[in-house]
Amino acid sequence: MSRIKGTFAALRAEGRAALIPFVEAFDPDRATSLALLTGMAEHGADIIEIGVPFTDPMADGPIIQAAGRRALNAGATLHGVLGIVRDFRKGNDKTPLVLMGYLNPILSYGVAEFTRDAALAGVDGLIVVDLPTEEADLLLPDAATHGLDFIRLIAPTTSDERLPKVLAGSSGFVYYVSITGITGTRTASAEDLARDIPRIRRATDLPIAVGFGVRTPEQAATVAKYADAAIVASALIEKLTLSDVAAVLGDVAALANGIRHAVKVAA
């Protein structure tokens, strides 16, 4: 069983949703990222998403854009990101890691080489923002060969007819982009989620994670009522720029607590 599958199976038994915090690798440096990953796993993160810096992050808002710039200035590369994953795995063989990024650095690395190296380093899943299902044959076969979960994005604009097409070949979990927009801007309401999540449930048995615009423990709890995981990115990155690693880990603990107190709405 993949780490991601195992994690969700355990959480289902516990009857709660997962917290997936986000770390932009190398923001502002390698050591900080490694400290965040290690610390988050100890402060209630069930899965961690690692942002792979790219010069042109088209789906990201100002906060993640700035994080990416800081990371690139600190020398971030895709090889370097895999290096952080290898170091993290020396002390943690349990917490699933998902890389989120854009296609071009992967193409530069070489799809076959990258999927092989990522799996060896201890990466569990991939989210490639600018690789829609229409182009997925570029990466899907290699990801499958190396046992990497291929996590697809679903948006409010994805129609019911389109859902099965988008979900084809996906594994691990489904990432629901809960707003039409870029990261760190708007937040979906409870009504939005009550309407949208069941629509996706009907199309898949995979766990559903909600991201884009989840910031507070209350919002995470709302997400946890309807979905199987809450992804928090911009709010944590912002906290890091204003404060320090300890403060971010404090927020992660509070978010984890929010999720643990959510009352699940029957699916």
Partner: protein, 412 residues
């Protein structure tokens, strides 16, 4: 040339003009690399464009606006003094700088805004580099009474002030983009971000033959009027096809508009001119085909200036309209199969051509076609006087006088 001949023979069974395929690809280039949020819109756009293309009323509408509003057909001019000065092949200009708003960009904007109207969209966004596409977009938005937001790199806002003011007069909202190097690439990122956030009512008028399918094909189709007119105009003037057709390349829309109608006429040598900025060795240039390698940016797979790690590099050119680290995917394909030659011209050479054109022909060209002209200056003297060069003079230079003045040491 052998490789080229073999591939050509294979493809010519059909035509070099038949691309893209059903996945929006020209060979291995093109495609639709966008986030899922945008994907349904891209598909809707493709369906709407296919329907419009099949509707004679749509083409009739375009023709009406091109004739009575844009002022087409644009003239084709025998540049006699320049020809004498260079002492070689006969040089003709396709004068798209005479279009309303001063460049070829409006050809595409007319087509796209008519499509936006058909689709019931009520808000227009666009990116712009030199400001020519922004002005053309703001113009058609004024004409059709639609609100319009233009994304423009903060650096370009500075160096293209006349166009910024023009857009404001036309009623557009200008958003200066500070991310990255603050040029065209960054403006395109922010326009895409706006589109993702406003999917219901907004139509994104992309200004060049790049981006996710169907944009490269659609923009090309709207720009092909350049080459189609030039073809019959050359027939009238000389009773034959030109020997060479030359155009400058930013994203490649004026060039593909000129080249495409000639792609199957294998006697016509086609040359695209990229911006070499401070020189190809300096690393400060915009020559994606000469110096880049294939990758994915802005929705399409194409040649890009990038690092080993796949990070996109900043381009450099004195010409804001050429200052882009990518190129339309059809050009990448035409490059790889060898049908079009791609060369590059440095800032200084373009400035020299700019002045020569002004003095010998009484035409102030934009800095973009000045790059094409600089290559004509190299090529014409090497060809016999009975050869014909056709160059796309795709924009006028009013917008560039501040930049040129600064380089020549004048304080305006």
């Amino acid at each position: 040339m052998l490789r080229y001949a073999v591939i050509m023979n294979e493809i010519l069974k059909n035509s070099l003009r038949s691309g893209p395929d059903g996945r929006g690809r020209f060979g291995e280039f093109g495609g639709r690399f966008v986030a899922e949020t945008l994907m349904p819109l891209i598909l809707e756009l493709e369906t709407a464009y296919e329907a419009a293309k099949a509707d004679p009323r749509f083409q009739a509408e375009i023709d009406y606006y091109l004739k009575h509003y844009v002022g087409r057909p644009s003239a084709m001019w025998f540049a006699e003094r320049l020809t004498k000065h260079l002492g070689g092949a006969k040089i003709y200009f396709k004068r798209d700088e005479l279009n309303h708003t001063g460049a070829h960009k409006i050809n595409n904007c007319i087509g796209q805004i008519l499509l936006a109207k058909r689709m019931g969209k009520t808000r227009i966004i666009a990116e712009t580099g030199a400001g020519q596409h922004g002005v053309a977009t703001a113009t058609v938005c004024a004409l059709f009474g639609l609100p319009c937001t233009i994304y423009m790199g903060a650096v370009d806002v500075e160096r293209q002030k006349p166009n910024v003011f023009r857009m404001k007069l036309l009623g557009a909202e200008i958003v200066p983009v500070k991310s990255g190097a603050g040029t065209l690439k960054d403006a395109m990122n922010d326009a895409m971000r706006d589109w993702v956030a406003n999917v219901k009512d907004t139509f994104y008028i992309i200004g060049t033959a790049a981006g996710p399918h169907p944009y490269p094909a659609m923009v090309r189709d709207f720009q092909c009027v350049i080459g189609e007119e030039a073809k019959w105009q050359m027939q009238e003037a000389e009773g034959r096809l030109p020997d060479v057709a030359i155009a400058a390349i930013g994203g490649g829309s004026n060039a593909i508009g000129l080249f495409h109608p000639f792609l199957d006429d294998t006697s016509v040598r086609l040359i695209g001119v990229e911006a070499a900025g401070h020189g190809l060795e300096s690393g400060e240039h915009a020559a994606s085909l000469s110096m880049g390698r294939p990758g994915v940016l802005h929705g399409n797979r194409t040649y890009l200036l990038q690092t080993e790690d796949g990070q996109i590099l900043e381009a450099h050119s004195i010409s804001a309209g050429l200052d882009y680290p990518g190129i339309g995917p059809e050009h990448s394909w035409l490059h790889d199969i060898g049908r079009v030659e791609y060369v590059s011209i440095e800032d200084e050479e373009a400035l020299t051509a700019f002045q020569l054109c002004t003095k010998t022909e009484g035409i102030i060209p934009a800095l973009e076609p000045a790059h094409a002209l600089a290559h004509v200056m190299k090529l014409a003297p090497t060809l016999a006087p009975d050869k014909i060069i056709l160059m796309n003079l795709c924009g006028r230079g009013d917008k560039d006088i501040f930049t040129v003045a600064a380089h020549l040491g004048f304080d305006l």
